[in-house]
Subunit: 466 residues, 4 copies
Amino acid sequence: MKFYRPTEECGIFGIFGHPEAANLTYLGLYALQHRGQESCGIVSSDGRSLSAHKSMGLVADVFGNQEIFRSLPGPAAIGHVRYSTTGDSVYKNVQPIMVDYSRGSIAVAHNGNLVNAQIIKDELEAWGSIFQTTMDTEIIIHLLATSKQNSLEDRIVDALSRVKGAYCLLFLTETRMVAARDPHGFRPLCLGKLGDSWVVASESCALDLIEAEFIREIEPGEIVVIDKNGLTSLSPLKKVEPAPCIFEFVYFARPDSYIFGQNVYEVRKEFGRQLAREHHVEADIVIPVPDSGVPAALGYAQEAGLPFELGLIRNHYVGRTFIEPQQSIRHFGVKIKLNPVRDILKDKRVVVIDDSIVRGTTSRKIVKMVRNAGAKEVHVRISSPPTSYPCYYGIDTPTRKELISSSHTIEEIRKYITADSLGYLSEEGLLQSVGTGSTPYCKACFSGSYPIKFPKLAAAPQLDLF
Amino acid sequence: MKFYRPTEECGIFGIFGHPEAANLTYLGLYALQHRGQESCGIVSSDGRSLSAHKSMGLVADVFGNQEIFRSLPGPAAIGHVRYSTTGDSVYKNVQPIMVDYSRGSIAVAHNGNLVNAQIIKDELEAWGSIFQTTMDTEIIIHLLATSKQNSLEDRIVDALSRVKGAYCLLFLTETRMVAARDPHGFRPLCLGKLGDSWVVASESCALDLIEAEFIREIEPGEIVVIDKNGLTSLSPLKKVEPAPCIFEFVYFARPDSYIFGQNVYEVRKEFGRQLAREHHVEADIVIPVPDSGVPAALGYAQEAGLPFELGLIRNHYVGRTFIEPQQSIRHFGVKIKLNPVRDILKDKRVVVIDDSIVRGTTSRKIVKMVRNAGAKEVHVRISSPPTSYPCYYGIDTPTRKELISSSHTIEEIRKYITADSLGYLSEEGLLQSVGTGSTPYCKACFSGSYPIKFPKLAAAPQLDLF
Amino acid sequence: MKFYRPTEECGIFGIFGHPEAANLTYLGLYALQHRGQESCGIVSSDGRSLSAHKSMGLVADVFGNQEIFRSLPGPAAIGHVRYSTTGDSVYKNVQPIMVDYSRGSIAVAHNGNLVNAQIIKDELEAWGSIFQTTMDTEIIIHLLATSKQNSLEDRIVDALSRVKGAYCLLFLTETRMVAARDPHGFRPLCLGKLGDSWVVASESCALDLIEAEFIREIEPGEIVVIDKNGLTSLSPLKKVEPAPCIFEFVYFARPDSYIFGQNVYEVRKEFGRQLAREHHVEADIVIPVPDSGVPAALGYAQEAGLPFELGLIRNHYVGRTFIEPQQSIRHFGVKIKLNPVRDILKDKRVVVIDDSIVRGTTSRKIVKMVRNAGAKEVHVRISSPPTSYPCYYGIDTPTRKELISSSHTIEEIRKYITADSLGYLSEEGLLQSVGTGSTPYCKACFSGSYPIKFPKLAAAPQLDLF
Amino acid sequence: MKFYRPTEECGIFGIFGHPEAANLTYLGLYALQHRGQESCGIVSSDGRSLSAHKSMGLVADVFGNQEIFRSLPGPAAIGHVRYSTTGDSVYKNVQPIMVDYSRGSIAVAHNGNLVNAQIIKDELEAWGSIFQTTMDTEIIIHLLATSKQNSLEDRIVDALSRVKGAYCLLFLTETRMVAARDPHGFRPLCLGKLGDSWVVASESCALDLIEAEFIREIEPGEIVVIDKNGLTSLSPLKKVEPAPCIFEFVYFARPDSYIFGQNVYEVRKEFGRQLAREHHVEADIVIPVPDSGVPAALGYAQEAGLPFELGLIRNHYVGRTFIEPQQSIRHFGVKIKLNPVRDILKDKRVVVIDDSIVRGTTSRKIVKMVRNAGAKEVHVRISSPPTSYPCYYGIDTPTRKELISSSHTIEEIRKYITADSLGYLSEEGLLQSVGTGSTPYCKACFSGSYPIKFPKLAAAPQLDLF
């Protein structure tokens, strides 16, 4: 029996009321490509029926000819980009899922991960449901279809009151688009407007590309129903303390996006500044591990009064199909992506800024690369606390035992990565940097303090899932 | 709301207990390619889980590299080839369908068409089921999953006692393969043996290719369960008068196959002989419309004592993607497939044998082609009665109004196709040719006498389906 | 150093003066697909410059979208289909070849094989030429480009007077189309007319498809120049005794074509009749090895007064990419293509008609297949004499040592293929069947008497080429 | 008659004496991907013959499976990446070109552009040569093949003494690899060593990736012959004043490379510093147009004492197949690649650093984007002088009339791009920044002073070429 694969690391986008809905959804997904590079799909509605196009591949490739848009007619559309690391990344799992049920057709796109998926699946199967994908998202549609409620809204509320975990959802029927965000608000979701059309997107950078106006974020626990009569907001789910994912700031979101009320770039720079305050070191230059480490490195450099340099150049042509050379040639690993600028690093005391250390192997290669390029000293600074716990809410992290900081002290990690010094941003520093102070964030990956209790029955296997 | 698309014109194949199960299934499907050229798929079981590979395309292309078979491990496999004429021929409808339900995983391959699909779908949706394909096959799995019965066999019986129509089915679970044929036995299905392995196939030509021994046909209403303990035969469904499809003999099956107790080639030849007896004409040569008309033409020629000639040469390189030339060039139609041999036809009185006339347009072109090649007279003989009624049991025929013989007399048809004379095989002649006499066949496409009553509610829309 | 690959087994087509030239060339190539299934290409001219599209693959696939024809503008076009058995079948060798030289652009399509290719290549290289393909065709363009003559015609004559071997050529420049056939006339080439447009094709079946009128064959040694002023015929090459390839009748050409003044189907039937006269046997039925053996089998059956039956059914879905099953499964060989009809063969004395025996392995499998299907006796009759010598003029035959009849007596071959009797058509019978008697044919593959002497230097390696 | 297309904007790589030659060439090309994204190819030698694989597409895609490397055996290989903007980017033009000539096989890869290509082509055609590509590179092979010299070296010298223009060349024969750089040394080419193997590459970043040691640059006019006996350096070509392309520093080369004796990153930073000295402005932040503008912006910021920020975020998923949205949606242009970070730009006086202005349209969009994001003032600074003249030596620049600075004053350009101020680096500043002072650079694109005189005959048409 297969366990459920979380639909982690995804981006969703939808637009209602625009003659070029599918085309704009394509652009929106394109702006969200960093949230999932493995597969993508769009479902559109022309008011009477739904049409779909989806496939493995990048947005620009999957939607790489104008014909496709002719097969996606209508003024409403939702789309999805998805990342997956394993063999389950098969066609049947590409979203949005589109089904027929008693009230007609419905499509759904999901970003997040349900923690009680297996329990509900068992119940649904016992009751007679069949499952054609291995995604937790399918459970939501089953719950919606089997709901005793009458209206679409009530069925959605019914379904969502059963599931636990992280979800940002976009539903599309023949005549309506519905957006929903889980009560903890783990993942970001925002609302925009383009002329008279409503737009929903995982991040505001997708609004920017289509020149839609940012209206506001969808609230934790909020359900937004959009149809020809306009927008209705509901908050029927039980209130809980919000827990937006702080790791979106650290690594996942695009720096030009606004999420959880803040600009990602500014927050990352503040991580860097705070890191400089917490882990000062005598040095000559500050360099980022590009691209994600750049804003924190700028913040560190500014706070420390050190020159910022692009000491590592990133090759952006790394594709999905990169073939490793023969075994007789040394393993290339990080060299495929990064190359040092020797003149910059030579004889320098270098501070290297990265956003996190996962297994430690990449950091070790980077330290060696910088040192081989002539650096006198290599000081690694990480713009987040040690990542010791897996995420169950939609970020694809390795199992605990693969996370180096779950079993090693900072000094042990420093030795392993061969750095002259190593400093992580403190949890306090992290929280202080994101500001308002009052907003509670989910920082389970750092603290192990998970906002949602695991269902008893599923606890053990669920933990093994990842 | 979409109506159901019959899974008409399909071929199925399965093998249980052979180390190269997927490979042999590939060969079996290859032999059944004439039953469906649009898409194909194989699901295999290694005893613990199922694996699938399926796609649009011909068998030799979809399974065109050895890697694929490594992804289909295990000693049991089922496969499917499918033909579809319309836009619904999308990936999601490619069979076998594979799902998870309360007892594990199950895959199903279906040849036939359910006439009460829409009614049951409505019921299942009302109850909460969701539908991810537009194939009637999905209904069977839903019924099986929602059955209150305990064992797989009982669940299958439960499901099959609900559906009406034509079906040959192959189910594969982790540990069992189940074959089922509807009580009317509309479509052929046979049982073979290859060493210790059991084989099930739509036609015996698939057994021949893998050098399996033909054991017997699966009986109408029979359910055959195969597992490591061997084969069990059940006949739990309500007995009805059998109604094997006589059109399989006329056109659909391969001439080297044995179906419904007879060899297709021999039956077709007898159609030809009988046709000669019924519609004698003074002529010089007999030519078939290749390939399907060849055996009947041989029979006709032998009975009439006329020379058989291959007066029309068929180009077998016609592919799916054939691009019609510009409109400024005359429409090519049948010329792409057939070219006359002038020396054979010149100044001859020619009898042209075809298996059926559908819209009449192709026959008209063929008559003109033969006449332009120099024939003095062109006498068309059809080795079946006029096709006046659509098939609801798994042959893809046009709607009634498109069937020329539903609205025209034979003389009108003769005029339309510009033949000097036109003769159809009589229904009596047809039945007499297939022999045993006692076996009742489904000949609804000729007579309009449908063996299964249409469900009241669905009657009207169902008729519009085609 | 690579030796030259003959451009054997090809088909060529050209049209001058039609607004849909490329489109009609596509149809022409489609009708000639049997002459080469590996690659194809079209070059068109709009009066000022040439455009090309060519690729590996079947005609219907390579030209499978209307866009391509927009990239092939102009009222003149030539095309090519090519077959090749080995690794040299790479893109660079796909024809037509298109080059720039001192007088502008020129494209050429070639069917045949030059026997002094290597000698001329050596000379041209010594002189400074470079070669970008491994086809002998490139030599002709080099000779044309280096010719001291002034006009295109004179340059072509100059080039052709240098080469020895088999060639049907179509040249296309910005403003002219030139067709040329070697003085022996080994390969067929015919001239047709479609309205005011001139058409040239390897076989007349290509004229039929586009409904062009067959005018006449291009004569051996004739050069036909077509431009806006019409057609000019030249015969500047040294006259030799014609030697059209009799194997085109035996196997290669399409039965509906007229070549060398005769209809292929009728000639093949006559082969069969003569074969019946030469090798009578008591038998019950006559069956062909389809498709090429059909006309001869009809002739044999008619002459012998025996029933003709389609005892072997051919599967036409055999594609380029057919994957052989695992080694643990018995080798399938001919079973993939042919399946016996047991009812037809059972307890019968069967005459099997094939066009030739090459290595003997296929015939052996067919005999066993027929016998296993129940035949009491299997008598093999071959509608041509034993093929003991390789062809150097454009048919892809194996080396001598692979040709079973080059080293085995007929009785030895009979034993090897396990037939009850074996009879080949005699050389006299073969020649008598093609009729006029006065026309000398090339029958080197049967007799070893090659119409063209091998160049001394190249003799040895050239023989090793094949 | 077609004129020659320069093989501009290419990268070349070769290695001799390593068992994984093709694999390492793949990695080398991967590191040089920025020099050409349209097509790529590798030719290897196993000592007896050459093997090739080449195609349109990115390196990681074209060589995206391990099988390909098995078809490229041998210890020597050369490779090529190419960029081309127009329709001539067809398969036949993909390099390396591989031909047979009198001494065997030879392959060549070329980076640069010959200015007398048409004249030599005319001569060669008059003499009888045929041309199968539209690349100037083919001319070099013709000259080499028609040379009266005996040794490969002498033939190469003979050929190169005939051509004028920019070239870095890699030749591969069965047993030797030869590298050549034109006497002006327009394009970079360096020599490295990996164990006992010699490596040649356009830029040193390719050596870094395979961990080869940088030995030295190939000198202008130098020819390096590498075979099993080692390396031989020749300088047989007439000496001229070197003229390395200064635009390689400005834009084309990778920042981590060392070319013309300097590190590109450091030179670019110095451009920025000098730009700050020349065009001071009161401002709050300095932002680059990523990625190429980053080092200059860092230099500017450091010199000006202003904060450097990544105010524009680049989307790296822009692919070749990006489909523009429907016309009803506003043209997206630069928004697809760049998105502003509003919080960074809001109410700021912003200095935007870019490397050059070509047509002005992109700069205009960037200025508007920055201003719309809230910037109070937008000051554009260009890290090179106005680009007023096309390049004939291997950079793909538009025609003169498309270059905005060829017909507009700086003030007019400023108005057009709607900047508050605009400053270009002076020619003196540019030259001073690259340092040594004594090295003369080609700066024809800024000054119009071309190091090579145009051949009289070809002058006019050649100018029209671009």
